[in-house]
Assembly symmetry: C2
Homo-oligomer: 301 residues x 2
């Protein structure tokens, strides 16, 4: 079987792939039945009449040209491959903000050594996890182990050490910490609005490690300006890789900002794992086994 | 029984105390058999001939005038009362540093949006916890739950989800993360030296939530200057409450600094709990039960 590969894959993953399939580039794409990609263009799709399966290396699938992907082509994402890394990062952002580490380090560096701000405890307090996929579930388990009273929000019921709710309002009301790990799709775009953020504890922390567009940009800006004690911590930005477009939010003192480094962009080790798991999932499909993370097309078009 | 109270105790703790003992100040100290204090002076001690028991409100006992405390007077600390808060803080400092949250937030705020530094994973990596008291044990459990391979260092063997060692060298060698939660006493003053810090992973993180003096100050300064990738994160300072005396270390880019806020100084809630637990421990002694956290005088004199 010929598989078109446009993603930069680690050597280890390519070796595994070559033992089971013929890897082709642009020259062989007309015969390719499958593709392993980071993203795919309308033009590439038009040149692959035999295409049946697209394995995407990233966890999120919101960047694909869904309108141009024929409905008979299966699309698989790569959720889980970076989940441990992103969950660690989410908890790090939540604790760095909640325990006022970022706040006090900035003050101390500026020569202000006062204890101007209380440090809340997480134990016993409400923490919301939005999205109970691989990243959300891992994050929720860590927060529960830290003693937080965790609420898990998702469209579909998932059991674990959290109180499940399919109501975003219920999940966020009064929460001291919230971590957003929702995928971006037509159900979640702009889902988190001002009133949701305003319903949280005024000294609370909202962390986004999913996709920026799940949160209404103006809502984040407004809450940060209105509530100096509230922290908005995010690894993802509305400007995607052009972070300067979000400099107004990033520069606010109660924003905590990182440049999309929680997962594969931040670590070669995570990137290697993602490449390997993408190839392994393609091989499941090639062997006739059910692949993981098959996208529901109706979430996107 | 008369108990001399010089510590500022929360109302709730004072109410409990008054139901079981007569609280006296300077005017009644000559008759006091016990004292509940933050610290005590030689002069106070000289005016309490009937003193048998000192309950200290803080966890650490290194600040007491040990030479002036008669050997027959029992001294109890308050370890445990702030342990959940301090363990949360220790993990927050470790993750904020290791996941490069503090690093990237500073960069992003300065308009530098590049991904200049990899973000390591904690899972599967070696983490050392120095001191297996209440704070150390809780910290070690959280790190183990996060998937780290935890080594616990203490003078006395303690079992838990860690590999125990009584060798500081073995605990720190190759560690990506280390958390110091040792008490300050004659065994631990200056214990952590340059060679210990230098034996850790060069991209590693050393967190101190115990007492500054356990770490050699010049060693911390040297490692920070020699290894830009190494982070020294500390809530405690050699200048005690005069943090400006440590501004040289605090101002280094790879130091993460907070002003002694992990426990009771950072939170009224934690302070209330500490007051209540101090009174409850005194009441154990007053009822003839064994009090907790009795100090071993030989650790200090």
């Amino acid at each position: 079987m010929k598989v078109y590969v446009s993603a930069r894959l680690p050597e280890e993953a390519l070796d595994l792939l070559r033992r089971h399939a013929e890897v082709v580039g642009a020259e062989g794409m007309a015969e390719a039945e499958a593709a392993i990609v980071f993203n795919i263009t309308r033009e590439e799709l038009a040149r692959m009449p035999k295409l049946k399966f697209i394995q995407v290396v990233t966890a999120g699938l919101d960047h694909l040209p869904w309108q141009d992907i024929p409905p008979h082509v299966l699309v698989a994402g790569n959720a889980g491959a970076n989940a441990d890394a992103v969950a660690e990062f989410a908890v790090a952002m939540a604790l760095a903000s909640l325990k006022r580490i970022v706040f006090y380090d900035r003050r101390m560096k500026a020569g202000d050594y006062g204890r101007s701000r209380p440090v809340p405890m997480l134990r016993g307090r409400k923490a919301a996890v939005l999205g109970l996929g691989e990243i959300g579930q891992r994050t929720a388990r860590i927060l529960a182990q830290l003693g937080a009273e965790v609420w898990g929000f998702s469209r579909r019921m998932r059991e674990g050490p959290w109180r499940f709710t399919d109501s975003l309002e219920e999940a966020l009301r009064g929460a001291l910490v919230a971590v957003c790990a929702l995928p971006l799709n037509r159900h979640t775009r702009g889902l988190v609005r001002y009133e949701h953020l305003a319903s949280m504890d005024p000294e609370g922390v909202f962390v986004n490690v999913g996709r920026a567009e799940v949160v209404d940009r103006e809502a984040a800006l407004r809450i940060l300006k209105e509530r100096p004690g509230f922290t908005f911590a995010s690894d993802v930005w509305w400007g995607r890789n052009d972070f300067a477009r979000d400099s107004e939010i990033i520069s606010l003192p109660n924003a905590v900002a990182t440049p999309w480094v929680a997962g594969g962009y931040g670590s070669e080790e995570v990137w290697r794992r993602m490449g390997l798991e993408a190839v392994e999932n393609f091989l499941r499909w090639a062997r006739g086994e059910p692949p993981r993370n098959i996208a529901d097309r109706s979430d996107y078009v």
